[in-house]
Symmetry: C2
Subunit: 187 residues, 2 copies
């Protein structure tokens, strides 16, 4: 086993993450998280959501600042295009999750990253959401993510980084596997 000092610096604190893994292995109840958002309808298809608080490590947590998001439909759907569409936000979440994973895995493997870019595309047949053809699903037909990575590593090492990120990605799991969603209406 190598005891060589790490030389790569991708800005990821791997020591803290490995410490967290150790701590949560000993106290699995602290690993139970709850992520949240609130959403207010503005007008038409425009809504504004806020992300601020979450629960984890056994207590209420808070982001350093509240993050707000405008969602809307584009003008070609007779909307005002005041924000990205909700499906584009899912693509952003997937790209961000895989990219954070690439940086974390690279740090853990002592690989210096210089540039990581991803382009992501989701195909959708609008005959689904418009109710034209009930055999067409509402969501994406499929999604493609393409990474371009410049790093101090071989092509094979770079491909292994991306594969490991994919294996541990929360949003990759959410998109590729089913999740139960309960929708309730207050009285």
């Amino acid at each position: 086993m190598s005891t060589t000092q790490m030389t790569a610096d991708n800005g990821v604190n791997v020591e803290a993450l490995l410490g967290a893994r150790e701590a949560l292995t000993a106290a699995p109840e602290a690993a139970q998280f709850q992520w949240r958002a609130t959403c207010e309808w503005m007008r038409g298809t425009h809504s504004r959501s806020k992300v601020e608080r979450f629960f984890g490590l056994g207590e209420e947590q808070q982001h350093r600042t509240a993050f707000t998001f405008d969602a809307d439909h584009p003008e070609i759907f007779a909307s005002e295009d005041k924000g990205s569409t909700p499906v584009e936000m899912v693509l952003v979440g997937l790209a961000g999750c895989l990219t954070a994973g690439v940086a974390s895995v690279a740090q853990n493997r002592d690989i210096q990253l210089r540039k990581v870019s991803a382009t992501i595309e989701g195909k959708m047949d609008l005959q689904g959401i418009l109710g034209i053809d009930s055999d067409v699903r509402n969501g994406f037909d499929d999604v493609t993510v393409r990474f371009d990575i410049d790093a101090d590593a071989t092509q094979e090492e770079i491909e292994a980084l991306v594969a490991q990120s994919q294996k541990r990605s929360a949003v990759f799991d959410i998109v590729t596997n089913p999740t139960q969603v309960t929708v309730e209406v207050g009285r």
Copy 2:
């Protein structure tokens, strides 16, 4: 069949949407859309994504403006919390999609909305993404959306609005059903 004039105004152009449905029924190739985002790694787990162009109605389309999103991990994971987490963005997408649907369906049913709020929560056991327990999934255990709606309608009509929105929601489909995701690495 009623010929009564619509009185509700939720800011949704239902006539245009019904026209689009008619047009796309006649020309289904125009219904083939491609939604996109690009993502750049900044440092650590922080990335910045941009949503600007998409393809639909047979040609390249563009939002009125480019939308940018910062994604990061929170400080309790030894990150800098420069943006919401990618999983929170998925929650925002789901809330925004269902909310736009509620407004559209309400307009189509001539129901005046006064206020629509949603709170959304996704439970996650971090033993998954941390690789502590391979039986724990990386994504959400489950998601709950709770709507509070003030409208000129009965409770049953409001519940029917939400049910119909859910039935036609792209992001609800993406989260509740599996989608194939292909991840490629450029050479």
